[in-house]
Amino acid sequence: MLKLITPLMQIVDVPMRALQRLLGPRRLAWAFLAPNLILFGLFAFLPVLVNIAYALTGSDQILLRDRPFVGVRNFTDLSQCASYLDANSCKIDVFWRAVHNTAWFIVLQVGFMVGFSLLTALILNRKIVARGFFRAVFFFPVLLSPVVVALIWKWILQDQGALNAVLEHFGYPTVNWLLNPSWAFGWAVFLSCWAHMGFYTLILLAGLQAIPRDVYEAAQMDAASPWRVFHRITLPLLMPTMVVVLVLALIKGVQTFDEVYAFTGGGPGSATTLVIQYIYQTGFAGAPRLFGLASAASIMVALVLVVLTAVQLWITRRNANG
């Protein structure tokens, strides 16, 4: 191996030395960083700038040069509401329905998912029968494509689906689960929890296993009750991991689109339309394509995500610093 690498390094060495002479050792770092910076600029930074440019222009034209400058009109249109709690009082009511749905979705999905993930992690951390099997079972849905997850549950829950067939078999009345706004929303939350729970369970399980055993042994010697052990030892020591899980789940919750879109299409009505779906519909699936409005909405979502990411970074750094 070394025989192969040495001549290669000798070939690279010549231009590197020349470059170092030309730029000096301090500036040489930029030469190494340049390819990555150029790619990052092209595919991450430039799209952000283009998105801002679209948000400040109107019409359904796709080329920026054909789009008239409208200032912050798209932002004012989106935020024009008599009451932010009543979507019907807003100029763009569907956007605010999507915002309300997303807020409820995050509260319920993150709450239930983190709660169940913790419960599952606690159980899987104990010496139970077939522990490896159950760990795999809980993680399996994470490996599935969101569209597959959505279709599986759609087939189960549709009017003539598996669940209604079971209810009918046992003589219970069937329910059109996806036609009732509350049921559809509830199932969307459930589906999302089911699909992602395994990932957070895994993180929490790692957090549980990092808690030193001697703390538990000391508690056992003091005859502490299981609840007291959980409340006074497990939970406080798991809290740094919990917070990371919580923030990650929040960010993921705001970004939810594919599985719910494939599951309900945002319906019935707009009962399960989330904010990312609103952006997609407004910019790409509607007629005319309101790129400006969609871009403005995406900037508003991005700001929320920036705040959440900043919180996550702050917590991670605080944990790292002890």
Binding site: G58, S59, D60, Q61, I62, L63, N88, D93, V94, R97, D159, N176, L178, L179, P181, T264, G265, G266, G267, P268, G269, S270, A271, T272, T273, Q277, Q281, F284, A285, G286, A287, P288, R289, L290
Partner: protein, 425 residues
């Protein structure tokens, strides 16, 4: 001497290559099909290229979604094909190549009449932009076997939407069929119900509107039928936004008494229902507006050339070739479509490989072409009609599921339309 020969040979080769590249024209044709329309068209184009070896046609067979979502972006970016099969006929007008300088205008006007308007910018635009290759008409299908089992007479010509609702509810009740009626989830199909109720879709000045009394009456009735179970609520309320949904599966399964869809379903029903039950096409249902308003909506797809092509003359010649009566007849006969060409329609089409039921259904739809309302033609030809279709679907669904009151839904439709028209202009 040898050097001179080499120079001469090189010059001759270069001249030959230059001449070949100057005369060889490759036209890119983007097409999506749900039957065999693109293949049939391609075969006709190959016939053209056999007679004109300097022109070749390369067909890109793409999914329908690409025509709807990617093609407009490609055209805006100036990287579109030379010609394509499109369905947003008026919406893409700004990219169309005007064929007028290259074709016999009188022949096209006489042959394709009103459908030419669908590709134009407006009434003042005399240009010829596209050939309607697939004329579709919205209309109703019934499960005749269910009517026979229920011993209920099928409402005849002139029957109103209300008559159909009463009859289908009675049939469903008598036979245990799950749904009396269903309609595809699109504003285009809803227009087939709104026009008999007197919907005009345009005010006296020709401005689009979604709040005239006829439209409002139809909307209220439609919402009420969805809420009381006369219509299969799953189709409209089961989705969000303006997503398309249909009830063909329910009809094929025999769960549906009457299905309001369109002529493009004929091939599917003929092959998938087979002998499971008898089905037929019904005359266009009427409504409170009277006999002159019993009309479905025309629609379908057409082939257009684009301004950005480097070969406008060749594109126009190719489309003109397709528009000739014998080629057009071949296209319709093989792809089982209703002809938009008046000469072909008058001569009749012998559909190749169609079952007797399919042929009967296609002829029933063809017979409805002359009775289509002028409102239907105007609505189909309006460049922002897709925005109107989407607004109708989104807001009516919200009214069906109770997110908006009917009055709020109508008011929102008016606002949405104003915003959409402003953005599109």
């Amino acid at each position: 001497m040898t050097q001179m020969r080499l120079i001469l040979a090189g010059a001759a080769t270069a001249a030959l290559l230059a001449a070949t590249s100057a005369s060889a024209v490759e036209l890119r044709f983007e097409c999506a099909q749900d039957g065999n329309e693109c293949d049939t068209m391609n075969a006709i184009f190959q016939k053209y290229t056999a007679a004109h070896p300097d022109v070749t046609v390369k067909m890109d067979l793409v999914p329908y979604k690409a025509i709807l979502e990617n093609l407009p972006v490609d055209l805006a970016a100036g990287t579109g094909p030379d010609l394509a099969k499109v369905t947003d006929l008026g919406g893409l007008h700004k990219y169309y190549l005007d064929l007028t300088p290259y074709v016999n205008k009188d022949y096209w006007e006489k042959s394709f009449g009103k459908t030419l308007d669908w590709y134009r910018a407006g009434a003042a635009d005399p240009g010829i932009y596209g050939i309607q290759t697939q004329l579709t008409i919205t209309g109703g299908f019934i499960n005749k076997t269910l009517f026979d089992q229920a011993k209920i007479a099928v409402p005849g010509p002139g029957a109103t939407w209300d008559d159909w609702a009463k009859a289908t509810v009675a049939v469903a009740k008598a036979t245990g069929a799950k749904y009396p009626m269903a309609m595809d989830r699109t504003g285009h199909r809803f227009a087939g119900m709104a026009m008999p109720y007197g919907a005009t879709y345009f005010d006296d000045k020709g401005n689009p509107e979604l709040s005239d009394p006829g439209f409002a009456a139809a909307a209220k009735q439609f919402v009420a039928w969805n809420q009381d179970g006369t219509m299969d609520k799953d189709v409209w309320a089961g989705s969000g936004g303006a997503t398309y949904a249909d009830a063909s599966k329910e009809f094929i399964n025999g769960d549906l008494v009457m299905y309001y869809s369109g002529s493009w379903q004929v091939q599917k029903f003929a092959s998938q229902i087979n002998t499971a039950f008898d089905w037929e096409v019904i005359p266009a249902p009427c409504g409170p507006a009277g006999a002159g308003h019993c009309s479905g909506m025309p629609g379908g797809s057409g082939v257009v050339g684009f301004k950005t092509t480097q070969h406008p003359k060749e594109v126009a010649a190719l489309l003109d070739f397709l528009a000739q009566q014998d080629n057009y007849t071949t296209l319709e006969a093989k792809s089982l479509n209703i002809p938009a060409h008046t000469g072909v329609a008058a001569a009749g089409v012998t559909y190749e490989g169609a079952t007797p039921e399919a042929a009967k259904a296609l002829n029933a739809f063809s017979a409805q072409v002359p009775t289509l309302s002028p409102v239907a033609y105007a609505y189909q030809g309006y460049k922002n009609n897709r925005a109107m279709f989407n607004i109708t679907v989104t807001r009516l669904t919200q009214a069906i599921v109770g997110e908006l009151s009917m009055d709020d839904a109508l008011a929102r439709m008016a606002d949405d339309l104003k915003q959409a028209v402003a953005a599109a202009n």
